[in-house]
């Protein structure tokens, strides 16, 4: 039996980093992760734009717990509740999305308002002296909102969200500021970002950590996604810059980011022939505008670099050929459920929005020209782990590179160090 402190070998002086593959297969480790990671960290729940109007709600499972969030009809604020009736336990929010005046449990018809208060109990008089209706309100996890991104934690002692996000915060700002400002140039009055309707909800028969790795792994892009690069080439996209430049960064607390130059187009603000000649001058104007607005250093990063941001443990914001917000819930050691949405600036000019949406679908999602091969790769790894004889996965690329390059594994080691630190916490 392995002890937790045997899971990871981290010897920078020897340029050695490795994790034991049982971390990907063992039910005991899986159970321990639930306790030490998913019960302690801040977890992405959803985006405020998903419930724009009073009474709007969204239902979602977060790390196995049924949750829903709803915009209060009284205050307009966002409330997050565990989706369980305080009476006998039935789930009371029984649709993925919708709008409600109040929420009634169908089992015994207890009714709650959008602030979670119990406002209706049939034959309430039959409850005796102990009964206190106020005590029977819906229960909430801790929730915080950073720039529209809603996070929950089941840990009453967790640090505040901003502290938790550490260096990842700046990258969330980059994604949001760049897209928002870019849209403003062409008449978006609204500002802010919104999550589009429509969900990519799929499953991968692999450990959830494989997707954390895969989402920020620059090394695999060339070989795994060669057919995508061929597709771009056939569309007249120049591959001259290829995949290059940039850097993988450790953002603290298990978060990491990969930033690099990539051949695909970016709605802000890298034009490619796939976007059509008509959009070229406007996309170039967005590029120049953002440089002027945010300065040379930040402006160039926003426009010319792609970003794959991993917020520990299971939120990925990819700001690449479009912006994707991806979470993955561990279901079993060899099974995760992925939920992926698209984030866009509000009020973007319709033709630029259409182009952004199309750009997303070329690579991303279960029907894209690339993501299915990621799924295949992760499942192939999971199957390979069963061989057991090869016990360790080496993650030692680029120890001697300063700064680490985009095909190095510095930022993936950051994830694993965050994982290891939390797993060790109570040993």
């Amino acid at each position: 039996m392995l002890h937790v402190n045997d899971f990871v070998i981290d010897k920078p002086e020897e340029e050695l980093f490795a994790y034991h593959r049982s971390t990907m297969t063992s039910p005991e480790i899986f159970a321990l992760e639930q306790e030490r990671i998913f019960e302690t960290c801040w977890l992405y729940l959803g985006h405020e734009s998903e419930i724009p109007n009073p009474g709007d709600f969204v239902r979602r499972d977060i790390a196995g717990r049924p949750i829903f969030f709803v915009r209060s009809r009284k205050t307009g604020k966002i409330n997050v509740f565990y989706n369980t009736c305080t009476h006998r336990g039935a789930t009371i929010c029984r649709q993925d999305v919708g709008n409600a005046r109040s929420l009634q449990c169908f089992y015994h018809a207890w009714t709650f308002n959008t602030d979670g208060e119990l406002i209706g109990v049939p034959d309430e008089e039959s409850y005796g002296g102990y009964w206190d209706r106020k005590q029977m309100a819906l229960q909430s996890p801790r929730v915080e909102n950073y720039r529209g991104f809603l996070f929950v934690t089941f840990n009453p002692e967790a640090e505040d969200l901003i502290t938790y996000l550490a260096g990842a915060r700046q990258y969330i700002d980059d994604v949001v500021d760049g897209a928002e400002e870019g849209a403003r140039l062409f008449g978006s009055q609204e500002g802010g970002m919104e999550i589009l309707k429509g969900t990519h909800a799929y499953a991968v028969q692999a450990n959830w950590k494989l997707l954390a790795e895969n989402s920020v792994d620059g090394y695999h892009l060339g070989p795994t996604h060669e057919t995508y690069m061929t597709f771009l080439k056939n569309q007249g996209v120049s591959m001259k810059g290829g995949l290059s430049g940039g850097e993988g960064k450790d953002l603290g607390n298990g978060h990491g980011v990969l930033e690099n130059v990539a051949p695909w187009g970016r709605p802000i603000a890298q034009w490619i022939p796939l976007f059509g000649e008509a959009s070229k001058p406007d996309i170039e104007r967005i590029h120049d505008y953002l440089l002027e607005k945010f300065g040379e250093e930040r402006g160039r990063r926003m426009t010319e670099l792609s970003r794959n941001l991993l917020v520990f443990p299971n939120l990925v914001i990819n700001d690449i050929m479009a912006i994707t917000v991806r979470t993955f819930n561990p279901i079993a050691p060899d099974h995760m459920e992925v939920t992926q949405k698209e984030l866009v600036p509000k009020g973007e000019r319709p033709d630029l929005k259409a182009l952004r949406l199309d750009s997303y679908l070329t690579f991303l999602g279960p029907g894209g020209f690339a993501s299915p091969d990621d799924t295949e790769a992760m499942e192939a790894c999971q199957q390979g782990f069963q061989a057991k004889a090869v016990e360790w996965t080496y993650m030692s690329r680029g120890f001697h590179h300063h700064p680490p390059g985009y095909t190095d594994e510095h930022h993936m080691r950051a994830f694993w160090r965050g994982w290891y630190r939390r797993m060790l916490a109570e040993e």
Binding site: K197, A201, T227, L357, Y360, D373
Partner: protein
């Protein structure tokens, strides 16, 4: 002789006079070409201005210009898809999976905007290595006659499963 006669008949056909059996034969042919991975031939069933759309499971009314969908291919993108699927580096489909397209409940809803609107139910099974995936739902076709031959102007694929799970991808053509 048999063959010649059917060709003559097709040339004289109008969309209005198309029988359900003829349409069914056409849809079965599409399924058969896909099951046998005859992708080049399959592509010839589509018009040059075709659309192949798969909205997400949770938003079957999804509009690709405003909502996130799974797939929204025009003819050029469909061609690119066949190029990809014939490439041994399309790892999710190398080697190719075994598929069966079951097409049923075919109904001809009449001619609208020079297209014959056809709905059908489908069940597509996909087997590969340890994967068993199913895709269930409703097709909505708009068919045209081009040079006397039925062609697909649009194919909308609306899935009934509440999510894609347990499938991990739509790596085949539905």
């Amino acid at each position: 002789m048999q063959k010649e006669r059917s060709e003559v008949n097709t040339l004289e056909k109008s969309l209005e006079s198309m029988s359900r059996q003829e349409v069914e034969d056409f849809l079965y042919k599409e399924g058969d070409l896909l099951d046998h991975w005859k992708l080049d031939e399959w592509l010839t069933l589509y018009t040059a201005d075709a659309q192949y759309l798969i909205p997400t499971n949770d938003l079957r009314s999804g509009d690709p210009e405003n909502d996130l969908v799974y797939i929204n291919h025009d003819f050029e993108r469909l061609q690119a898809l066949t190029v990809r699927l014939k490439d041994r580096r399309a790892h999710r489909e190398y080697p190719w999976s075994n598929t069966t397209h079951l097409v049923t409940n075919v109904r001809l809803l009449g001619v609208e905007e020079e297209c014959l609107v056809v709905t059908a139910n489908f069940l597509v099974w996909r087997f590969r290595n340890k994967d068993t995936d199913y895709f269930v739902g409703h097709y909505r076709y708009a068919l045209q006659l081009v040079g006397g031959q039925l062609k697909i102007r649009s194919k909308h694929i609306l899935m009934d499963m509440t999510s894609l799970r347990p499938a991990g991808a739509i790596s085949i053509i539905l």
